[in-house]
Symmetry: C2
Subunit: 289 residues, 2 copies
């Protein structure tokens, strides 16, 4: 395969993730050409005039024509549909990557691509709760973990090129099998989202009876609920394509919260102290990593 | 009562909250004298040599001797014990305030103070997950809500002086009855803490089986779990003095999370979209306030 520097890279989807990648690739001249494909004409224009891409289009087939690397950066279920749509038009030997938040369904769709195409699933872990082209920025991927999930059919050179791309924008590549990735992000990413949403719901219910609650909201609520402001469609795609693992993690969380509530109900202060201290230590240990 | 500028202010407890208040009072010359009382001799020395106070001591009774305003800034149950201990030694006409995170037990203890003393419960809402004198800083209270809970016996001039003090350090005074305060913070502050702790527990359980989960932890987990790193003793005092309200709010939260889990189990995408959109809107509306 070509080196990244010689590649034409087509990014499909110019939201936060896709557009930020284009900006890094173009500003640092990391590849031969950066193309952007967006559904909305306004985004096509924005990306072009912001110099985020060399070429912008809202026509998928012309956007990917002859590209050495095609990167799908839309919500998960759109990625699955796009893989099916573009399969027959992909250049033989081209690398197909994605930036979707769940991997099992996407990698299953990738496995059906024509034999000459090299698929590598991927998930850079650096979302913000703001979405869209307007939120895109250079340097978004710096120091972020970027999960790469090669398929059994993926050639080592294709995985190497994907790793080269992730490193080129400053990310830390982490190679993980698709199902293992999905189990882990159910815990570290999808569960926090549902927890933040339920917390917002609970406080909103109190606020309906006594709006003064919003006057008192400080850092604790702000941080714990932040990801509840994430894009709903993006998270629906995530939740619906990772249901079993997410449900398992919600139950895992419910178990621990129930324990805390029961210790409080029993006023069992020594046991409560023990459990809270363990959480505090676990959180502090992670921060030090 | 005297104006703040003419008052000798004694702050008992030189952790994050107490020491930050001393620093603002002293640096901006907001009162005649700032005294600090700390249990540990090292903190007494640190506060004095950092010019956070005019006078520092680890002897409670000499610290409060003749003070016009005494402000208790320790964990809640220590505040309750301190109120009982200092009652007989307080100057007639002096204002007694506190910075504890729950108000019912503290205001009940304040109600038993000698008749000449003026009590006002208080709770500035600007904690950080870092604690102790080392974490103290000027400007901590700027724009923070500072709840003030006068008692039935509190003279209007005493409440006015408490409001003057809160405003002097840039806080927004919010006058609320003690029990109402406790119900609201159970939702907006104590619930987020327990949720963050349970989330950390749930992720740690996954991490015990597959440590790679910690490699993938990004902003979602970081923010949603942040307050789990808060001081355990401080939160034990909070939880044990606000049990009924906290348990009620945990159950409120559990109800909403269960709904989300059930919608996911049923794969009821329209209802899930509806509920997640509502949370997103509620969170965005709060942010705009």
């Amino acid at each position: 395969m070509k080196a990244l520097r010689e590649c034409s890279v087509a990014v499909v989807g110019l939201g936060l993730m896709g557009a930020s990648l284009c900006m890094d690739l173009k500003a640092q001249h990391l590849c031969r050409e950066v193309r952007g494909v967006a559904r909305r004409t306004q985004t096509v224009l924005d990306a072009f005039f912001a110099h985020a891409v060399d070429l912008a289009t809202n026509d998928l087939q012309t956007g990917i024509l002859g590209a050495d690397i095609v990167i799908l950066a839309t919500p998960v279920r759109t990625i699955v549909a796009t893989i099916e749509e573009i399969g027959p038009r992909l250049w033989p030997g081209s690398l197909v990557m994605d930036m979707g938040s769940t991997k099992a369904d996407i990698c299953a769709a990738m496995d059906l691509l024509p034999a000459g195409v090299q698929p590598v699933g991927g998930h850079p872990m650096c979302g913000k709760e703001t979405a869209g082209f307007e939120a895109a920025e250079c340097g978004l991927y710096r120091n972020a973990p970027w999960v790469l999930s090669p398929l059994a059919r993926t050639a080592p050179e294709a995985l190497a090129l994907a790793i080269e791309l992730a490193k080129a924008v400053g990310a830390r590549p982490v190679v993980l099998e698709a199902r293992r990735h999905d189990r882990l992000v159910a815990s570290i990413s999808h569960l926090p989202f549902l927890v933040a949403s339920a917390l917002t719901d609970a406080v909103a219910q109190v606020g309906a009876g006594d709006p003064a609650v919003w006057e008192l909201a400080a850092g604790g609520f702000r941080d714990t609920s932040r990801v509840a402001a994430s894009d709903t469609q993006m998270f629906l795609d995530i939740l619906m394509t990772n249901r079993a693992a997410v449900i398992e993690q919600v139950e895992n969380f419910e178990h621990h919260l129930r324990q805390l509530r029961q210790l409080l109900t029993q006023a069992d202060e020594p046991a409560l102290r023990q459990k809270l201290s363990e959480s505090r230590t676990a959180r502090a240990e992670w921060k030090k990593r």
